[in-house]
Symmetry: C2
Subunit: 402 residues, 2 copies
């Protein structure tokens, strides 16, 4: 599709859709036009004329003259249907829907091969940070050993507000919501699901392995209290929700968990809505990419870069995936993930009974007072799955780095 104006069919005109529209209007280098906008809500006021919109997805999916379908809606199931349909029609797709991608990765990978179309999604992990493309292309021949990232802007904003302004979790969350950094229902963010979906995508491109969201641990920050922040501050540490993966002897450790991060880490100074991903390779050593992890224009600009990449027929090569013989199914990952090992954690609790939710191997420190109780202990990693998605637990767990 070189040297002609790119015709885009756009699904969704929320925060990122509007961002893409703005960025596209300001862009100088790219000849591209959104031919049709498909949205759901007929009554919502929008910044551009109603004649541009359709409420019937066939008005985009039924057309043969579009170069790209850009999918930027919220609902992951609807998104999967739209994206699959477009790919089966032989149309290239750009999306930023991490939940849809992570939940259906094997199927989407297969659809790309079967229909010989591109599916690209830089906006889905790390907002404006070009991490997926760099993992895919630049670290292609690197023996990557680990990646570790702050990939969720909402939780990082909440943690920074608690850290710097001594706000309670509830007040920090409210402020994040008021400033557009957290959803009305914050569960997917605060419980680490958003970070989990992104981690799944990063692992595909870093290590060539497709994992299922239900098989990877995520524990969030929803139980954090100001005393956990005080504890961190006393030790000159900061609490960050990290998406983490490390490969050692062909086994992968992967999880989303709060971590104490020290002043020496590049991630220590990544605060508020900023995201950063640190990648460690055998030869390039530690590298970090940092930038705004969310927001209308940053994510819109990542989506635009994907559209632009289609002009030179870019698509992900998935060389690592092919090399691992994953064949587009999550089964290819069997036996690659390390399912249990001891992990040193800080565990704060009110009722000592709740510690029984975890399999604690040994306790290194124990602290009790009228205000807060915690242990620092080696925990069986497997038992942390008892906290995954568990709204009833009162435990706050945070990894202590050695």
């Amino acid at each position: 599709m070189e040297n002609k104006e790119i015709q885009i069919g756009l699904f969704g005109f929320g925060c990122v859709g509007q961002g893409l529209y703005d960025v596209l209007n300001m862009s100088q280098g790219l000849e591209a036009r959104i031919v049709k906008f498909c949205v759901k809500d007929k009554n919502k006021k929008r910044s551009i004329d109603a004649s541009n919109f359709t409420y019937d997805k066939e008005d985009i999916l039924g057309r043969k003259d579009l170069d790209v379908v850009v999918e930027l809606i919220d609902n992951a199931n609807d998104a999967f249907e739209i994206v699959s349909r477009a790919m089966k029609n032989g149309v290239n797709v750009v999306t930023a829907n991490k939940k849809m991608l992570a939940e259906n990765f094997s199927e989407l990978y297969k659809l790309q091969q079967e229909n010989n179309v591109a599916l690209i999604y830089e906006g889905s992990a790390g907002g404006s940070i070009p991490i997926i493309r760099n993992l895919e292309e630049y670290y292609d021949n690197e023996l990557l050993s680990s990646l570790s990232g702050i990939v969720n802007g909402s939780t990082n904003y909440i943690l920074s507000k608690m850290q710097f302004d001594n706000l309670t979790y509830e007040d920090a969350l409210r402020e994040a919501q008021e400033n557009g950094f957290a959803e009305a229902d914050p569960w997917l963010d605060v419980a680490g699901y958003d970070a989990l979906y992104k981690l799944i995508l990063l692992i595909v491109h870093a290590f060539g392995v497709i994992l299922k969201p239900e098989d990877v641990l995520n524990v969030g920050i929803q139980n954090i209290r100001i005393h956990d922040i005080y504890f961190a501050r006393e030790k000159q540490l900061r609490i960050k929700l990290l998406a983490y993966a490390r490969k050692e002897n062909d086994k992968i450790r992967a999880y989303v968990l709060p971590h104490f991060v020290s002043r020496e880490s590049e991630l220590f100074n990544v605060n508020y809505e900023y995201n950063a991903i640190e990648v460690e390779g055998a030869f390039s050593d530690k590298q970090m990419l940092a930038g705004k992890g969310a927001g209308s224009h940053p994510t819109g600009s990542a989506v635009l870069s994907d559209i632009s990449a289609l002009t030179y027929n870019y698509r992900y090569g998935y060389k690592k995936l092919k090399k691992n013989g994953a064949n587009g199914t999550a089964e290819g990952a069997n036996g690659i993930v390390e399912d249990d090992f001891p992990l040193k954690c800080y565990i704060r609790f009110s009722n000592p009974e709740s510690l029984k939710e975890l399999d604690i191997l040994s306790i290194e420190e124990e602290y009790r007072s009228a205000k807060t109780n915690y242990v620092i202990a080696n925990v069986s990693f497997k038992s942390l799955f008892n906290l995954k998605g568990n709204k009833d637990t009162e435990l706050f767990v945070c990894v202590v780095e050695d």
Copy 2:
């Protein structure tokens, strides 16, 4: 050249050449082999068998069966000859020679077009950091406004040693040399020439403008004294040698100068041999890429990524350059560079007479003592060219950010 083993002719087997060799041997994804190594010194002991080497460049340049010439020698003039010859033969070239590239950019750009070959050079700016490719591809449609980077590992190592260990400049330099972070003749590094060459390349890919090294200001750290470090520390600042370019109203400000960097800057914590480049765009906002800026394996891995990119026929598109109508000549840049403006600087001196080397517009602070004298003043930018390459001046100049 897909799906077959890539045949490489390598010039140079110093630090980076050895790094490439190691990285290539460990690499899993790439089928590539160095068919011939051309080196200069017949008597030097090398880690691999002498039968692999040739001392006659025709043994590489005269062959028709090579896929890539990789140029990793020191001498910029010899390098230019090798690279031009290879390109004229229709062979793709990978190089990390920033001096050669910056001094001959217009000619090299033309050769790429005329001979329809790729010339790629990720290892030339930022060591292992994939900055050029990201500027070229990812920020393609971004209205980039500025870039600011620590791009020279030697000077950053020296500054960090002074900062953290209170070493004098001379001792810090000696230590850098002993640890392989500075050359026996450190002039190109400490006077900011290495950073200048890299800045020229970054500006090509960020703003689509070819500047000549002689037209862009570089002032280094060779006159720094421990009192300058004390001054910075008192104000909670750190001194960093920055390569800087900002575009405003279609004019570019560009220079290499020491800067006081505050704790709020992402660059504050980039120390020792680490490099980092901060890029600011209209939509993606501030982004930073950081990593090891030099060294055998990090740079070797950047070179390998370039070789790997050739397997899918990657070449720089130079879209910004083409859009600016540069036509491959530095003349295209005429009138784009802002040649004079007031710049607020800290200027430390022994003899007040030396201040006359600069055109000082107004003095904001003045300090004199038995140990150190400085002014903080607005200086005519143009007059700072009096210090460029000037071994006689005793002035130490450092930009004060407002």
